[in-house]
């Protein structure tokens, strides 16, 4: 396959040499010319599913674009497609500057390469997260497209013997009006490949955008609608074994001994092996492995196991919150302001552990080869995984090939800083000496119970008010495990004992309060924790936005007007808030038993406001009927993808607002599947309207920012409807 694609070696060598010259000088941002030396593209993967015939590449101007002999254009996407639409978004950027027709654009997932496919906000490190995909790629991918276009135009100018600036490219057609000559990209590809790399490229003026800001249908719709999209779960290699793992029922426990006698009697089982953290059963298929694992008896050594529960942790966290913590932000003189205040209000907030519960439970396919290792999975922290796997196997990172497949959701989970499920798969393959490829499959129960949760948090908030009821002092203490401690991100994002991901959304509140103190306690526990869609904002937004609402009510002011007064100098917060309020009909009367609430929050440089309407149905139950969302995410590259992320991101947060909760009891996880870890179902989904603020700012992310806003908006609406102020998630009215 690789030979077929890299057919013309002499031309390719020529390209690599000539392009390298210009690369470092002008276009180093995307390193054209450093085309992949070896072809690491997966046999089956995004854009390849369904037996699609891959056309020969005629022109590879850089690491992101191939113009093929069938006139299709393949855009290589460095980020993981997990539903957020990055395949569509990044391809839009290339197509815009290339002036390609959207229909001729194909997408393909990039191989692991920290230099070529660097996340420019992190690197050199390839990875997807923090809603950075569009933001870090916006200029890079447009430049890639513009450079390719420049070379195609130069080729046409040469061939037709006309001036390059008389040539127009539109919808994939290169056209010279005066001579009435036109050509498709493929026809110019060979000559284009011989043109020098442009010293600089001009990017379009935003007013000339033809695709950006318009509707470009998703590139992954068709194969996800007809069942041909290939996920990790769907990979099948010759001789492959399926592995299920019995994990420690308590965090920190170890295997003392195990009895595999009944396991080996199960038809289809081939191996039972101990690995770090459990025992793996390998079999010819899933069901045999599952039956084998069910027959496994393990005696656990609990001497170092964690044996506490959520209740004990909460009691401990409450005690901690009474003491000063590490200072995340300190403005003015908060202590003095509280001492001289006539009126103070305080509140405390509780947040449970949460599972990500992506529809595709964690899984990974591994094949060990004489010269390295090859992986197939929804890779999200590609470079970190590559390094971790190399270390485990005694290889160089470049000997670890990663085929980045579609992920069946992630919400942060697949970006595990410890590469947990990836290393588990590799450990199993290593334990059987690589005699067969291994597909590690987690059951839903494994996915729910084997760890990595949004940490449990406890917040204490206190405000001192002036005579008008506005806050003059604000003290916010947060207690909860650090996500980043012990990870590769610690040195970057943990400063003076403050994990930025624990306090984001609280330490940077936009409200004008002269005396402001935000503090953090980060207790160390053996419960594995990880970022969960919107990370710190998943809890800080609730505490801040419901407390502000409470202050507004205490001041006898309208919550919208109260926020407006405190948000002077924050036009983007104000912009989304006013838009959502206007579209929702803020201020219009609500029937008895109904309530309307608002919340506004910035995360990942995107601003989201939501106005929610709720209805009480009896003493304790309620429904969320309508959500009006306004978002300012800079230039709206794909408005429909933005709308989809607002709808879905809000829904993801609504599940946690209404019912999702992981509870620890005696060191174990009480929930196991969707019957007791309940998530949003269609009958709980409100009607949703999304309004996008027109902006000329560079685009920022949309995958996460809608998630944290819904819970406070619902709680604030519930207060209006019921008079009950709720301080814990999931939200529960008392009778």
């Amino acid at each position: 396959m690789s030979q077929k694609k890299i057919e013309n070696v002499s031309r390719r060598e020529f390209l690599v040499k000539t392009m390298s010259v210009g690369a470092g000088l002008t276009l180093g941002v995307y390193l054209p010319g450093c085309s992949r030396e070896e072809d690491t593209r997966p046999e089956a993967g995004p854009g390849k599913a369904g037996g699609e015939v891959v056309a020969e590449s005629e022109f590879e101007p850089n690491a992101f674009i191939r113009i093929n002999s069938d006139n299709s254009v393949t855009v290589i996407i460095k980020h993981l497609e997990m539903g957020q639409g990055t395949h569509t978004g990044l391809a839009t950027l290339v197509a815009e500057e290339l002036d390609a027709a959207w229909s001729q654009i194909r997408v393909e997932a990039a191989p692991a390469n920290p230099i070529l496919y660097n996340n420019l906000f992190w690197g050199p490190m390839q990875g997807t997260g923090g809603s950075t995909a569009m933001a870090n790629s916006f200029e890079q991918m447009r430049k890639a497209g513009a450079a390719a276009r420049h070379m195609l135009v130069a080729a046409a100018a040469k061939k037709w013997d006309v001036a390059a600036d008389e040539i127009v490219v539109r919808d994939g057609v290169i056209h010279h009006q005066a001579s009435n000559k036109q050509a498709r990209f493929a026809e110019m590809a060979e000559l284009a490949a011989q043109q020098p790399i442009p010293q600089d490229v001009f990017l379009k003026d935003p007013q000339d955008f033809r695709l950006i800001g318009q509707h470009a249908p998703r590139k992954d719709s068709a194969n996800k609608v007809n069942g041909t999209a290939i996920f990790t779960q769907d990979i099948k290699l010759p001789g492959m074994l399926t592995a299920l793992v019995s994990h420690t029922p308590r965090f920190g426990a170890r295997v003392k001994s195990f009895d595999a006698s009944k396991v080996k009697a199960v038809k289809g089982v081939s191996d039972v092996i101990e690995i770090p953290g459990g025992v793996a059963v390998l079999a010819k298929d899933y069901w045999s492995a599952k039956k084998g694992r069910d027959a496994l008896r393990i005696d656990w050594d609990n001497s170092n196991a964690f044996k506490q529960g959520s209740d004990e942790l909460l009691a401990k966290y409450k005690t901690l919150a009474d003491k000063p913590g590490s200072v995340a932000r300190s403005d003015g003189d908060t202590k003095n302001a509280f001492q001289s205040a006539k009126q103070t209000i305080q509140a405390a907030f509780e947040f449970p552990f949460l599972a990500h519960a992506a529809m595709e439970p964690m899984n990974c396919v591994v094949q060990l080869n004489p010269d390295g290792c090859e992986l197939w999975y929804g890779a999200q922290t590609n470079t970190m995984d590559q390094i971790a796997v190399a270390k485990l196997l005694g290889l160089k990172p470049e000997q670890v090939k990663i085929n980045m497949l579609y992920a069946g959701g992630s919400f942060g989970r697949r970006a595990n800083p410890a590469s947990d499920y990836v290393l588990e798969a590799v450990s199993i393959a290593k334990a059987i000496n690589g005699v067969a490829p291994v597909k590690l499959v987690w059951t839903r129960e494994d996915d729910m119970q084997a760890g990595y949760y949004r940490p449990m948090y406890y917040h204490q908030l206190k405000a001192a008010l002036n005579d008008d009821g506005y806050p003059v002092a604000w003290q916010h203490r947060i207690v909860g495990q650090s996500i980043l401690a012990g990870t590769a991100f610690e040195s970057m994002l943990v400063k003076d004992g403050v994990d930025q991901t624990s306090v984001e959304g609280a330490s940077n509140i936009p409200y004008a309060i002269p005396n402001l103190q935000v503090e953090l306690h980060s207790p160390v526990l053996p419960v594995p924790v990880q970022w969960w869609r919107s990370v710190g904002s998943s809890h800080t937004a609730f505490a801040v936005e419901t407390f502000i609402d409470e202050l507004a009510v205490a001041a006898g002011r309208d919550p919208l007007e109260f926020r407006r007064a405190l948000l002077k100098g924050h036009p983007r917060h104000l912009g989304v808030m006013e838009l959502a309020a206007a579209k929702a009909g803020w201020g219009s009367p609500m029937a008895t038993g109904r309530g309307r609430g608002i919340a506004v929050h910035e995360s990942f440089n995107s601003y989201v406001a939501q106005v929610v309407e709720v209805t009480l149905h009896d003493n304790k139950s309620f429904s969320v009927d309508r959500v009006v969302i306004a978002v300012d995410c800079g230039i709206a590259v794909n408005p429909d993808v933005i709308r989809a992320q607002m709808e879905g991101g809000m829904g993801y947060g609504l599940a946690a607002a209404l019912s999702s909760k992981i509870t620890l009891i005696d060191g174990g996880v009480a929930q196991s599947n969707f019957h007791d870890y309940t998530v949003l179902r269609i009958d709980q989904m409100p009607a949703v309207e999304v309004h996008i603020v027109k902006s000329e700012q560079p685009p920022s992310g949309v995958g996460e920012p809608a998630t944290p806003v819904i819970a406070p908006a619902v709680a604030n609406a519930l207060y209006q409807a019921s008079g009950q102020r709720l301080y814990a998630l999931p939200l529960q009215l008392s009778a």
């Binding site: 539903g83 957020q84 249908p217 992954d220 719709s221 068709a222 194969n223 996800k224 609608v225 007809n226 069942g227 041909t228 999209a229 290939i230 996920f231 779960q233 769907d234 099948k236 038809k267 298929d285 899933y286 069901w287 045999s288 039956k291 519960a357 992506a358 529809m359 595709e360 439970p361 579609y406 992920a407 069946g408 959701g409 992630s410 919400f411 499959v441 059951t443 839903r444 429909d640 993808v641 989809a644 709808e647 879905g648 991101g649 809000m650 829904g651 993801y652 609504l654 599940a655 599947n673 969707f674 019957h675 998530v679 949003l680 179902r681 269609i682 009958d683 989904m685 009607a687 949703v688």
Partner: protein, 151 residues
């Protein structure tokens, strides 16, 4: 041996009788469009049609299905199916896509029984299918779009 007709083709499956239909479809027949999500008929990712009725395949042993006719996402070709899949594409319903085979099988199952479902009918029929990307707003809209196109 279990005898099943899958997407119009007869198969004699040499699998353990307690094997859930899902794994016979995926691992034995190699049809991977039907997904595993929970193993307890809670999430609907594994939805297929058994004799034309949408059912969860993850906890349905093949021994109970001898002689039955199964349709998976790969075997769809009815007018209703085409309408539903076209509506799903037209409205760009999918995000991660993992649950969508199951969603589509349930939606077709609904429309085969009820040509003009109310909002409550839609929510009722689709309530067993979880989408963690929360594409529900578009699922509702796509079902209505399919209904319109079938008139």
């Amino acid at each position: 041996m279990i005898q099943l007709t899958v997407n119009g083709t007869q198969h004699k499956l040499d699998v353990e009788p307690d094997t859930p239909l899902l794994w016979a479809i995926r691992d034995t027949l190699g049809l991977t469009g039907t997904k595993y999500g929970c193993g307890m008929s809670l999430c609907g990712s594994c939805t297929v049609h058994v004799d034309g009725v949408a059912m969860r395949s993850c906890a349905l042993p093949v021994s109970a299905l001898n002689g039955k006719s199964i349709t998976t996402i790969e075997g769809l070709n009815s007018r209703t199916a085409r309408a539903v899949q076209s509506a799903w594409e037209k409205l760009d319903v999918v995000q991660c896509g993992y649950c969508q085979s199951g969603q589509i099988m349930s939606a077709i199952g609904l429309l085969e029984q009820n040509k003009s479902p109310s909002d409550e009918d839609i929510d009722g029929a689709m309530n067993g299918n979880i989408c963690r990307c929360n594409t529900y707003v578009r699922i509702r809209a796509a079902i209505k779009e399919a209904v319109r196109s079938l008139v």
